[in-house]
């Protein structure tokens, strides 16, 4: 049977461990950051040696690696940029994601790496895309304000690859057009120092009537979830769908990568995801920490229903328990991230796409001493589970 075309699945990888998770759980490409020049200064990010290992790991599994260089650089940043670009070229990264036209010029001068335009540049229309193509950009990561239909038009009229976000947290401002942190926290939001002031609670009042005050999270956006529109992404030939979240947990990366990989695999064969399949996948999306979901501007401009009027605390029905370090016929060795108990029920989010339930019948430490409860930052030896593999993610329902 001839398979239908589907978009590339692009997943976030905040560090080498997450890169491997994204690759193992089905990403076609991952985006990562070095120690400088990206917008996630607080993420672990990659040293050059880790990048090299990550690229090799991904490439041997037919996954591409894109490196973000998307902060708005200051002059002094350019002192180290040439070396960094040369090294990226040497280790054969597949593309760099850039927002600054000066950086584009340097990438072209010091390498032959493909250039993608970051969403930071707020490319919103076909004329803008044409301009960037003239500058040597091969793909534009469109602003989150762009609908799927407009993205298709930009792709066609701009004659350029388009990448559109499909899932994750959203800037409520046009990307690159928020500098609240710069003036209130002394941290440059466009160089990785964003303090997430949009998630704060504000009280709002007319200037003439300060007592008429409303307290509200008025500028906090719900999270994007485009799963239910995946057929539209495919039918409009969006080249790449992007999951946000280089700062997010291993569970987040694994769950969402697997959900979208499964959905895309299904859409290679069927015209539609189908109601049951879609519902199952949507329920998987509920198992990770997230704000309420919205389709934002994917169909029509985001309206009042896209605002998340709650304190920013992610609710989740499942939590990360840990990851499997070893799996054999005698035991599962788990690195524990959150506590669980003997007699508890765990779920193994396996890399083969199966979610396996695992009853904890035996729980021991390294000395084969029985324990009742695990603690974060420890290792636990559990009864074995057929099919479970090293690097599988373990989760449990939040009580």
């Amino acid at each position: 049977m001839t398979k239908l075309w589907v978009p590339e699945l692009l997943s976030p990888a905040g560090n080498l461990e997450k890169l491997k998770i994204a690759v193992n759980y089905g990403a076609n490409a991952v985006y990562v950051g070095g120690q400088k020049f990206g917008l996630r200064s607080a993420a672990d990010n990659f040293t050059m040696k880790e990048l090299e290992e990550g690229v090799e790991y991904a490439h041997t599994r037919e996954c591409k690696v894109f490196v973000v260089l998307n902060s708005f650089l200051h002059d002094e940043d350019f002192l180290e940029l040439a070396d960094f670009i040369t090294n990226l070229d040497r280790i054969k990264v597949d593309a760099v994601i850039v927002s600054d036209i000066g950086v584009i010029q340097w990438v072209q001068e010091y390498s032959s790496i493909e250039i993608h335009l970051s969403t930071q540049a707020s490319c919103l229309n076909a004329q803008s895309a044409k301009f960037w193509k003239e500058q040597g950009v091969s793909r534009v990561v469109l602003g989150r304000e762009v609908s799927i239909a407009d993205a298709a038009k930009i792709r066609q009229e701009g004659n350029i690859e388009v990448e559109l976000f499909v899932h994750g947290s959203m800037c409520i401002a046009y990307s690159g057009n928020c500098i609240i942190s710069n003036f209130t926290q002394g941290r440059d939001s466009n160089r990785g120092g964003c303090a997430h002031s949009c998630r704060f609670e504000y009280s709002i009042a007319p200037k003439a009537d300060p007592n008429k005050r409303i307290t509200n999270f008025f500028m906090s956006s719900k999270d994007l979830n485009g799963l239910s529109l995946l057929e539209s992404y495919r039918d409009n030939h969006i080249d790449s769908i992007k999951i946000e979240g280089r700062m997010k947990s291993n569970l987040h990366v694994a769950t969402l990568t697997q959900v979208y990989a499964k959905a895309l695999a299904h859409l290679q064969i069927e015209q539609s995801l189908g109601e049951t399949n879609r519902d199952n996948l949507l329920s998987e999306c509920e198992k990770i920490g997230h704000r309420a979901y919205t389709t934002a501007s994917l169909i029509s401009p985001a309206d009042a229903s896209s605002i998340y009027d709650e304190r920013d605390g992610e609710e989740q029905s499942f939590q990360l328990v840990g990851n499997i370090l070893e799996s054999n016929e005698n035991f599962l060795l788990v690195e524990v991230k959150s506590p669980f108990y003997i007699g508890g029920e765990l779920e193994i989010l396996s890399q083969d796409g199966i979610v396996r339930t695992h009853m904890v019948r035996s729980l021991q430490n390294f000395y084969q001493e029985n324990i009742e409860k695990t603690r974060p930052g420890s290792l636990a030896f559990l009864n074995p589970l057929e099919g479970a593999c090293k690097a599988d993610i373990v989760r449990q329902r939040v009580l």
Binding site: S41, D44, T47, M48, E50, F72, H74, F78, D100, G102, V103, I104, Q120, L124, N125, A126, Q127, S128, G143, V146, S147, D150, I172, A173, Y174, G176, N177, C178, I180, N182, F183, Q185, R187, N190, R191, G192, G193, S197, F200, E201, S203, I204, A205, K207, I214, N216, F218, M219, P301, A302, D303, A304, I307, L325, E326, N330, F366, G377, S378, L379
Partner: protein
């Protein structure tokens, strides 16, 4: 009276224009509701004002700083092209003030003759980027608006390096945030007319009170609590050679606007002390990053530098400390041998040197060497915690 050298102001009425013209205003920005974030004028009103200004022989700048998605862009472009054709017949000194990509659109598609003033206030805090834009627009470029986050040193450097006229914000509100979403109207059903809502915002989680917030047909805009004022360093800016200084008092009603403009002039004329001006001005004023921009300094504190991996020495991570029995380590790179010298680096920055005397694997077997991917159990060492890194000593 000291006139502000090549003062650039936005005007929305003939009265405002005549006031600023008499004050030595050099070029006049027209903000329309069609194209400008803070624009209120209809195209017809703007058309009339532009013709009035042109009849006085002054330069008119039409501002287009709205970011537009595909459909809005197509509609606005069509409307603007039609208007521009008409305007060029009657206005001799007409320029466009645009964000970078719209410049491309105008240049390539519509009118390669109109002069472009390029707004690079967002981002563009490096010479390679600015020079690239200058090169791209060539002769069509008439002025660049530099970021208001540049320090004095940078302004000096850019003045030396850039061979085009430069403009900076001299006095006015600092825009912090621009969203296409309408964020105020959902809070209040008693909305003002003309889709224009103004509110003050106070952060409940930081000490900042009184952010001016505006919602209009283009979205929501937030400004800093404090306004930027470089009035007291006017002579420095003159020495640096910044060509145009923009005064933006447009948030005030006409009378107040004129009053504060005249106060600025009096400060420049040394008739009013700057401290007094600062005290009486309705908003707090700051120099912003003019003295120095250290907004990247705090980045170092966002991450624990002791946990950053050193490409030369790093071999793995401590994943369990079982006091006083063992240290479990995951080998991430290279290998670990019996007898080798390593050091642990704790999250607190403590370096602990050890010689490896025993290695057990997860089956509790003694092994001589552990390689990448292995989980091994080493002799206990006090002061260590999970997340410490394991490094090869050389």
């Amino acid at each position: 009276m000291t006139f502000i050298k090549k003062c650039t102001v936005a005007v929305s009425s003939q009265t405002e224009f005549l006031f600023y013209q008499q004050k030595g205003g050099h070029s006049f920005i027209i903000r329309t509701a069609l194209l400008s974030r803070m624009g209120k004028m209809t195209v017809a009103q703007a058309d009339e004002l532009i013709k009035f200004i042109s009849s006085h022989g002054e330069m008119v700048i039409i501002e287009w700083d709205i970011l537009m998605e595909q459909v809005s862009f197509e509609q606005a472009s069509a409307r603007f092209s039609e208007w521009l054709n008409d305007l060029q017949k009657s206005s001799t000194q007409l320029e466009m003030r645009v964000q970078e990509l719209l410049a491309m659109y105008l240049r390539k598609n519509n009118d390669p003759h109109i002069k472009i003033q390029l707004n690079l206030e967002t981002g563009h805090r490096n010479l390679p980027s600015i020079k690239k834009h200058i090169c791209y627009l060539g002769e069509q470029l008439s002025r660049i608006m530099l970021s208001f986050e540049l320090s004095k040193d940078k302004l000096q450097l850019y003045r030396r390096e850039l061979k085009v006229p430069l403009e900076i914000l001299f006095h006015g509100r600092i825009p912090l945030f621009y969203s296409p979403r309408k964020l105020l109207s959902p809070l209040d059903t008693n909305q003002e007319q003309d889709n224009w809502i103004e509110r003050d915002g106070e952060s409940e989680e930081s000490p900042h009170k009184g952010f001016p917030i505006i919602e209009n047909r283009h979205g929501t805009f937030m400004f800093n609590v404090k306004e930027l004022s470089l009035v007291d360093v006017y002579s420095e800016l003159s020495d640096i050679g910044i060509d145009y200084l923009r005064v933006d008092l447009n948030s005030f009603e006409e009378g107040e606007q004129f009053k504060w403009f005249e106060q600025i002039e009096l400060v420049l004329d040394s008739s009013v002390d700057f401290t007094q001006f600062k005290r009486e001005y309705p908003a707090e004023i700051i120099r912003g990053f003019y003295s120095v921009n250290k907004s990247s300094v705090l980045f170092e504190k966002l991450k624990n530098k002791f946990l950053q991996h050193d490409d030369e020495t790093y071999i793995g991570d401590v994943i369990e400390v079982s006091k006083p029995r063992h240290i479990a380590v995951q080998i991430k790179r290279g290998q670990l041998l019996i007898g080798s010298e390593i050091f642990y680096m704790t999250p607190e920055g403590k370096r602990i040197e050890v010689i490896i005397t025993s290695i057990l694997n997860s089956q509790r077997d003694n092994i001589d060497v552990a390689t990448k991917g292995d989980i091994v159990f080493l002799p206990y060492k006090k002061s260590l915690s999970a997340k410490s890194t394991v490094n090869q000593s050389y």
